[in-house]
């Protein structure tokens, strides 16, 4: 157990240590069925969330659904992506809540969080720049370079996020004696 120096407010590690002692966290951690079910939901939702996002990215790369206007693909698919994302965040938060301290200290979890932030920035950049002028290239079979770069970045980041997420289960680089 690491004891944090007391300072103003609560450190992130201190917060995780407090979280770990809450009854529901212990119950979730020790549950025979609920934890594996939540984890399965997290994995299966990949097909809904990332699946629809990948199809949209592939459209932006101009390698599938070339006859579908980009704005229509986005308008029709993104609600499903968003629903999948909500399930991902809820199940992911529960998985973190079940094992807060080990997860917080895990290098793969930290890599995943950084890539999630980068992925969010990529979405924001895309929507505030090249997608604003989508009307000009909506019907192009192969969208402009900016859109293709954003789509490629998105695919790379999400692949990295999936791999890092899978690796959280491994403790190769965990700090010994903390949990």
């Amino acid at each position: 157990m690491i004891l944090e120096r007391s300072g103003p407010g609560m450190s992130l590690l201190g917060f995780c240590q407090w979280l770990e002692k809450t009854p529901w966290s212990i119950a979730l951690h020790e549950s025979l069925w609920v934890y594996p079910i939540v984890e399965s939901l997290h994995v299966l939702t990949l097909s809904l969330f990332l699946g629809t996002a990948v199809m949209l990215d592939l459209r932006l790369l101009g390698v599938t659904m070339r006859g579908v206007p980009v704005s229509e693909a986005a308008r029709r698919l993104l609600p499903w992506t968003a629903a999948g994302f909500a399930l991902m965040v809820i199940s992911g938060a529960l998985l973190f809540y079940a094992i807060p301290v080990r997860t917080y200290l895990n290098i793969f979890f930290r890599i995943k969080v950084v890539m999630l932030i980068l992925s969010g920035l990529n979405v924001w950049c895309f929507h505030s720049t090249v997608y604003r002028r989508v009307a000009e290239w909506d019907l192009d079979p192969v969208p402009p370079r900016g859109a293709r770069v954003a789509a490629a970045l998105s695919l790379l980041l999400w692949a990295g996020i999936v791999v890092a997420g899978r690796m959280i289960a491994y403790n190769w680089f965990d700090t010994p004696g903390v949990h």
Partner: protein, 160 residues
């Protein structure tokens, strides 16, 4: 009937099986490809199934969407099967005793056959000739079969 256990034991003792089992990082790396293929297959299947249900890209012709999604579905399945065989070789004996593995294999074959026969035919057919109810049923069967395959697949990791 003779037990299949010797076959599974032979699989586990292949050079590939031993190499993956003996390595710290090979199993999770191969599994990561299995998961990425899950996302790709999920997208390629859902785009068409949602459309068959009258959701998603419902202003687009089903046949065209199915044609567009087909190579990504096929490519995803190839990655899935290759990575799946590698994972299986590394822990074949565990799979032999796993009810989840048996469930997955039992549902996987009808899922693949259904996808490349009934579903393919219905998606490619002229929309005026196939009743909407029939199309929706095909989409629901497709989503259900693949969900059972994915869920029982995940459960192999929890068993044994």
């Amino acid at each position: 009937m003779a037990s299949l256990l010797p076959v599974f034991e032979w699989c586990e003792n292949t050079a590939v099986g031993n190499a993956i089992r003996g390595s710290l990082w090979l199993f999770p790396v191969v599994e990561s490809f299995h998961l990425l293929a899950l996302a790709l297959i999920g997208g390629a299947v859902l785009v068409v199934d949602l459309r068959l249900l009258g959701l998603g890209l419902r202003r687009q012709p089903v046949a065209q969407l199915a044609r567009d999604a087909q190579p990504w579905l096929a490519g995803g399945l190839v990655v899935m099967v290759v990575s799946g065989i590698l994972l299986f070789l590394s822990e074949a004996v565990k799979c032999y005793y796993s009810a989840a593995f048996l469930t997955k294999m039992t549902v996987l074959f009808p899922a693949i056959v259904f996808t490349f026969t009934v579903r393919r035919r219905v998606a490619a057919d002229d929309e005026t000739r196939v009743r909407p109810l029939w199309r929706k049923l095909v989409a629901l069967v497709s989503v259900t079969l693949w969900t059972v395959v994915a869920a029982s697949g995940r459960w192999i990791g929890f068993s044994g």
